[in-house]
């Protein structure tokens, strides 16, 4: 029997070296709320586990010029306890707060949520709608990509061998911006999104929507950025007609599957319903001066 190897590097260089040099199957461990479950369910049998929680770049939350940066291994509860971050990014926090239970959020990280690459991950549509980018390091150095470019399909990412997500950057949004995320689940908590919708929008002084981004979760192989849905809002006062167009565009963009968590038909319909509800929350936040 071969033994599982566990490493907990303290620098990015060491982490990258471990990942790049690994011969067998390798798993990055942050909070472990997906990884440990997958190991227990025999879905993965890693030869090497690289625990990234001891690397300082991965565990910091800091305000930078032009935006907020937080480490990929920062736990949900650490974000929830960061008052300024929560006030600045209520839409992102809508998503983070829906991940698992309080106990799970005490461990689970946004980086893990993104890299687990579930189309139903709750933090992802919210991050994408907020225009978040991810900093990735690997054997060939550093690169910065939009969050929507990380997951490519269920359990699949664009990360190359030896690469890992270090942090997320949320660029400051203009005054009059607001964001929100909601999901539909049969249970009130401890559930996986049947549909998730993240929307950020910006209002001009005249109350007309000048920019919007709409991201849909759990309705395709990965989180979808729906340009048509955003376009339905831009140039409007987010009135009934605009919301109808948004809902129709959101439903039209869905390409879900029938599975144990919901039928195609149901997901398509509820995507529109949720898009409308989320847009109204984002609107209220934009009008209230929150982002």
């Amino acid at each position: 029997m071969t033994e599982m190897r566990y490493e907990a590097p303290t620098t990015l260089d060491d982490a990258v070296a471990l990942l790049a040099d690994s011969k067998g199957s390798t798993t990055v461990l942050a909070g472990g709320t997906d990884v440990l479950v997958q190991i227990h369910m025999d879905l993965i049998e890693p030869d090497l586990i690289v625990d990234i929680k001891n690397i300082k770049e991965l565990t910091a939350i800091k305000k930078e010029k032009g935006g907020y940066r937080f480490g990929a291994a920062v736990s949900g509860v650490e974000l929830m306890d960061h008052e300024d971050f929560c006030q600045t990014w209520p839409g992102v926090m809508d998503g983070v707060k829906l991940i698992g239970s309080i106990q799970v959020k005490g461990r689970a990280s946004v980086g893990g949520n993104v890299c687990n690459a579930s189309p139903a991950a709750d933090s992802v549509p919210a991050l994408i709608a907020a225009g978040a980018t991810a900093t990735i390091v690997g054997p060939k150095g550093k690169r910065e990509i939009p969050v929507e470019e990380i997951a490519t399909g269920p359990g699949q990412t664009s990360l190359k061998d030896g690469e890992l997500v270090v942090s997320f950057f949320l660029p400051n949004s203009p005054a009059g911006s607001g964001g929100a995320y909601q999901r539909f689940t049969p249970r009130t908590e401890m559930d996986i999104a049947v549909v998730g919708v993240g929307i950020n929008l910006t209002l001009g002084d005249d109350g007309v929507c000048s920019a919007a981004k709409v991201a849909l979760g759990a309705v395709a192989e990965k989180v979808l950025v729906v340009e048509e849905a955003a376009a339905a809002l831009v140039g409007t006062q987010v009135d009934e007609a605009a919301l109808d167009n948004l809902a129709a565009a959101a439903s039209a963009a869905c390409r879900p599957i029938d599975d144990k968590r919901g039928t195609k038909e149901y997901r398509i319909k509820v995507a529109g319903v949720l898009a409308r509800r989320v847009a109204l929350i984002a609107l209220e936040r934009a009008q209230g001066g929150q982002k």
Binding site: M1, D42, R187, T188, V194, D259, K260
Partner: protein, 774 residues
């Protein structure tokens, strides 16, 4: 029901008296501290030196002939100490026995624990290994080669009943059909329950409503997975620690399938983390014993959640057709039910139990119930809290609601018009004794719940339930300790319903000593005579009868000791307030002797004091309940939120009222889960798709509202404290009550379970054009 009551049973008449302990809520719950501090020992917490870990290889097919099993590579893996298949167990003939509320057949029991000719469901055990570590055991499973011939499978009950359906057992001919069929069928048996003349009854009806209902299989959902530890010694004795509701039944089943003397098997029930009917059958226990026998080491086995879902429980999925005829004033003239029940891979659904419950809330002259017990490629069903009854109530109570609406009669009034009461003839045989059904309906009528305002898209539903209380074999010993405290050794497993507290209350009441001075201790199978399992709501009802009898037996012994001390005759001594006293002034001037004084001197004056009960309890009091539910329906997503919930139930006598309310709460929560989201989902290959709590959605705390409870007490005349069973009745009404509330909220009748958001939304969409057309 199901099992025939013994004509030699024990009943002790109800006597009304002032109570000091029974009916109170002692603050010191005997099991609470150990449970909340994590010190209570469940089966998976028990370890012994040198133990191996056992794991089970399970069929990945819903239906397959097992052509061969090659275990040689697994046996060679370092660390593997034993590998077993069906060849390590004797085949069993057809032989029926009671297991909890259900009947088992040992031919099928041995095939359920380890597949023989065929694998009959996804998750069916085909081999097991014991190794020095879990990872080695898992690696060994992968080395076992099973040659399967995959066969067509059938999952749905209606499909399984079709003449061209894939057959699970080519030798099975439907029982209960005349003339005997010549072709084999998945319908194992047809059962009928009749009263009066059904056709005449429907002729006399002014309104007849007939509806079809479908329900999916639901799991008991106990938090504790099955776990067992077994030691087989070279002396030929087996000792087992396991998670069970009935260690004596487990012992009996083990002795049978392993062809051992009952006396050579000792079973100790660990603290139980929920069973709800699902822990009355052997699963891991026989495998662990044989692995231990073959390896010479103790073997521990714990199921994963995936295994629990795929291979234990669940309750039947059903197809039910209910037809009720009424006069214009709402009087039922005839009622008919066709019950098609999945029994899983072998016959034996809960039909024999629930067939009698179909219409027993109502006084009806003409009744016909036909039940079909149907095998399909699913795990063999197990009892689940009022087995099979919630689905029937889903049908009957929603049809009653529809009739009430049609006739413009209040739903409580129509139930009162037809309510069963003392003297009502049941369709399963006996006439009912004193019962509290009407009392629960009358209490509902004046309950504040009915005054709560309802907003748009909110609705209110009512439904009622009935379940009988089992008696059966019950043994107990009461040891009076040297310091005057008492140890009550019970054999009816405390299924976490507060039974050990209730037993202590009864003993304290009988002996006249404080509650804190009594400790109720769970027996193993060696310390008491046979006890039937904790099932059929019998735990407190039957166990307390044994507690009364053992207490009174000990009191007789203590009076004898006092008589010897005082040098008088035993009949000159009486027991009052925890003391032996002279029966009258004529006996002599003696200071009363306390239980402690007697206990201290008992050794010299005749020997240690103990009281015994070895009885078959009969005369269980049927329980009735009425539920009121308010829901809100989200018309855009189909989500149903339960807003308000009230349970009114006759408990006969609530020994520990807080525990009784907890039974109401727990059952209602299970009922809400079953109603709204819980279901077994299979893919096209017959593989279960949601074997985990993420996708098998039991409710979480935020899904459940505050549940108000009201205990009605109409004493059971055959029990000294008037106790009725309480645990099962409250899971019966929720499906129907929620369905009725959804109708009240948004005008759709949900007859397909679960009433999950996609189904509710589809029903709303279907109704919308119709409503618009009107």
């Amino acid at each position: 029901m199901g099992m025939k009551p013994s004509p030699f049973g024990t009943q002790i008449p109800y006597e009304e008296k002032d109570l000091k302990v029974v009916g109170t809520n002692p603050t010191a719950r005997p099991d609470a501290v150990d449970k909340v501090t994590g010190k209570a020992r469940y089966a998976a917490d028990i370890n012994v030196p040198g133990q191996l870990i056992g794991k089970v290889l399970r069929s990945p097919h819903a239906h397959a002939r097992i052509k061969s099993i090659d275990t040689s590579a697994a046996e060679k893996l370092q660390g593997v100490k034993a590998v077993i298949t069906c060849d390590d167990f004797p085949d069993m003939p057809v032989l029926h026995a009671a297991a909890g509320e259900m009947i088992v057949n040992f031919r099928d029991v041995t095939r359920t624990m380890m597949a023989r000719e065929k694998a009959l469901f996804d998750g069916h055990p085909v081999a097991a290994v014991a190794a020095t570590s879990e990872s080695i055991a898992k690696a060994a499973l992968k080395l076992i080669k099973v040659d399967y011939e995959v066969l067509p499978h059938v999952i749905d009950v209606v499909e399984a009943m079709q003449p061209d359906a894939p057959l699970l057992n080519e030798e099975q001919f439907t029982k209960g059909v005349e003339p005997a069929p010549e072709k084999p069928s998945n319908i194992a048996a047809r059962m009928t329950s009749k009263l009066g003349d059904i056709e005449e009854g429907f002729k006399n009806a002014d309104l007849i409503v007939e509806r079809e209902f479908n329900t999916k299989a639901a799991h008991q959902g106990y938090i504790e997975p099955h776990a067992s530890l077994a030691i087989y010694t070279e002396g030929g004795n087996a000792e087992v620690w396991t998670s069970t509701q009935g260690h004596f039944l487990i012992r009996a089943q083990l002795a049978k399938v392993l062809e051992m003397d009952v006396s050579r098997v000792k079973v100790t029930p660990a603290e139980l983390g929920g069973g709800f009917g699902g822990k009355n059958s052997i699963y891991l226990e026989p495998l662990a014993i044989v692995l231990s026998k073959n390896s010479g080491r103790p073997v521990k086995m714990v199921m994963t959640r995936d295994e629990v879902f795929r291979a234990s429980g669940p309750t039947s999925g059903t197809n039910i057709i209910i037809k009720i005829g009424v006069t214009k004033d709402g009087r039922i003239t005839a009622a008919q039910a066709i019950l098609n029940y999945q029994s899983g891979c072998f016959p034996g659904s809960s039909l024999p139990l629930c067939t009698p419950t179909v219409f027993t809330r109502y006084d009806i002259e003409n009744v016909l119930v036909i039940g079909n017990d149907v095998v399909c490629n699913r795990p063999k069903v197990a009892a689940y809290r009022a087995p099979g009854a919630p689905m029937i109530a889903f049908g009957v109570e929603t049809v009653m609601d529809e009739i009430a609406e049609e006739l413009k009669i209040d739903p409580i009034e129509i139930r009162l018009t037809n309510a069963a009461k003392e003297g009502t003839q049941t369709h399963f045989g006996p006439k009912l004794g004193p019962i509290g059904y009407i009392e629960t309906l009358e209490a509902a009528k004046v309950h504040d719940h009915l005054k709560a305002p309802l907003e748009p898209n909110q609705g209110r539903g009512i439904a009622t339930g009935f379940w009988a209380t089992l008696g059966m074999e019950t043994s107990a010993t009461l040891n009076v300790n040297q310091d005057g405290t008492a140890s009550f050794i019970y054999g009816t497993v405390d299924v976490a319903g507060g039974m050990r507290a209730a037993y202590s209350q009864i003993v304290a009441e009988e002996l006249g000593i404080p509650f804190e001075n009594v400790r109720a201790i769970q027996s193993d199978t060696s310390s008491l005579g046979f006890n039937f399992t904790t099932a059929g709501s019998r735990g407190t009802a039957a166990g307390s009868m044994a507690a009364v009898k053992a207490s009174r037996d000990a009191i007789t012994r203590m009076c004898e000791v006092a008589a010897r001390i005082w040098e008088v005759e035993p009949d000159q001594v009486v027991w009052e307030d925890g003391h032996a006293r002279p029966a009258s002034a004529n006996v002599g001037d003696f200071e009363p002797l306390s239980i402690a004084e007697i206990a201290m001197k008992a050794g010299f004056f005749g020997g240690t004091i103990a009281g015994h009960a070895e009885i078959n309890v009969t005369g269980g009091g049927p329980g009735f309940g009425t539920h009121l539910i308010d829901v809100e329906v989200d018309r855009e997503t189909g989500a149903v939120k339960v807003l308000r919930y009230t349970i009114i139930q006759d408990a006969g006598k609530a020994v520990f009222p807080e525990y009784v309310k907890a039974q109401f709460h727990g059952a209602a929560v299970q009922g809400i889960g079953m109603a709204l989201n819980e279901e077994y989902i299979y893919d096209e290959n017959g593989i279960m798709e949601n074997p985990g709590f993420l996708d098998y959605r039991v409710p979480v705390a935020s899904d459940v509202p505050y549940i108000d409870t009201q205990i009605v007490e109409v004493p059971n005349p055959n029990h000294p404290y008037g106790i009725r069973g309480v645990g099962e009745v409250p899971i019966i009404p929720p499906l129907a009550a929620i369905s009725n509330a959804i109708y009240d909220a948004v005008g759709i009748r949900m007859r397909d379970h679960p009433m999950s958001p996609p189904k509710v939304l589809a029903a709303l969409d279907e109704a919308a054009p119709a409503a618009a057309a009107e």
